[in-house]
Amino acid sequence: MFRNQYDTDVTTWSPAGRLFQVEYAMEAVKQGSAAVGLRSKTHVVLVCVGKANSEFSSHQKKIFKVDDHIGVAIAGLTADGRVLSLHMRSECIHYKFLYDSPLPVGRLVVQLADKAQVCTQRSWTRPYGVGLLVAGLDETGPHLYQNCPSGNYFEYQAFAIGARSQAAKTYLERKFETFPECSRNELIRHGIISVKEALAEGKLNGSNCNVAVVGIGEAFNTLDSKTVQQIIDSLEDRADEPPVDVAPVEGEQGAVQDDTDQAAAPMET
């Protein structure tokens, strides 16, 4: 009811204490295609579904290397994601120049969150319309973080963002307790299976599925499409893998739905 009166500026509160522009920005994240991240004791894996504009075009690049020890997967406005990735790269280079050591992941994530927060408090800039899954390795081990347009950030064992991410999350919820002890390849498998859940139509293959890994003894790298195709093929061959029957959640397709992990705001009427 009140939404339309208070949603023009990011600097206008609603009577219920919400900033609608920020929430709309988070909607943009939900419209982007799915990105999944998961972490074990030694590795972090990012898996994404790349959308293609048409049959003729290449698939969207959703995973960016930020430094040898950090990479990021984006969902939402890709241009915003690219710009933020470039900013993260320059932060890492700057830190290395000053301190001759890799930027701790948590620090980078906080800097990113502060940057996003600025855009929620200026009348002349809009919030970034991109959600980021930051995967990195530092002295304290492997980490997976999510960054929101609101300026919030959260650390996760496993998470999914983007369209139909709830389906992926349901799979992850079932399996995440086994992740810490998983080997690198098992982790990648879990990631690809969970991303399959988030696929609306069409098949997962080496070109529309991007997989990246970072871990102890392994710098951040994106797997090439042949390797990914092999893993996908081997998943289909595994007859012992129980069929994952997850009913897709209905609210995902375009209706405004509040994720429970975002700011706890009531559903609008």
Binding site: K65, R89, S90, I93, H94, K96, F97
Partner: protein, 229 residues
């Protein structure tokens, strides 16, 4: 007071620069490049350390050796390493040696009016896998050559290198390559001889010799002793 007393001119005795001495050379071969530098770091007539590396791996196939003011050298190396990271992010590959050579030249000239007191010699493999050496002055003037020497012992070494490596006159046809026809081990032996000779007479060169060889297989490092006096 006598009227003839004048105001003493007080000239500044502080300089932002210091010369830490030492010599660097590089020799280009048909499919390798040798880059070498002594490991003595000095100031005035004192030795600061006998064990300081003047050589920096800027990229896979590109190595820089610099003598002069090592604080400026260190800053220059860090600057170039950071720029190389940016290049790798943008182009998804390592910088080639000729590309790094141009970048170094631009970086030096950027500080044309407060220069890096750094006398550089850049060595590596070009895009075709042939050895290449670039020699610089402090403000970025550079040239691709077959061999080069910079630093306090440079003037002692250059005539010897000219004698051993200089290609016949460019007026002769067919055109000759700048790279030496010597084999890798012959070039390394020449480097050792030339440093041993320079260490005899140049007080700032000595203690140790660090030799880096870049070839198709990668980067190899060797270290040996020099006169410590």
């Amino acid at each position: 007071m006598a009227a003839t007393e004048g105001i003493k001119q007080h000239h500044s005795t502080w300089s932002p620069y210091d010369n830490n001495g030492g010599t660097c050379i590089a020799i280009a071969g048909s499919n390798y490049c040798v880059i070498a530098a002594d490991t003595r770091m000095s100031t005035g007539y004192s030795i600061l350390t006998r064990d300081y590396s003047k050589i920096c791996n800027l990229a896979d196939k590109c190595v820089m050796a610099s003598s002069g003011f090592q604080a400026d050298v260190k800053a220059l190396q860090k600057n170039l390493s950071a720029r190389h990271l940016i290049y790798q992010h943008q182009h998804n590959k390592q910088m080639s040696c000729p590309a790094m050579a141009q970048l170094l030249s631009n970086t030096l000239y950027y500080k044309r009016f407060f220069p890096y007191y750094s006398f550089n010699v850049l060595g590596g493999l070009d895009n075709e896998g042939k050895g290449c050496v670039f020699t610089y002055d402090a403000v970025g003037s550079y040239e691709r050559v077959g061999y080069g020497a910079q630093g306090t012992g440079g003037t002692l070494m250059m005539p010897v290198l000219d004698n051993q490596l200089k290609s016949p006159s460019p007026l002769l046809l067919p055109a000759q390559d700048a790279t030496t026809p010597l084999s890798e081990s012959e070039a390394v032996d020449l480097v050792k001889d030339v440093f041993a000779s320079a260490a005899e007479r140049d007080i700032y060169t000595g203690d140790g010799l660090e030799i880096v060889v870049v070839n198709a297989e990668g980067v190899k490092r060797e270290f040996l002793e020099l006169r410590r006096d």
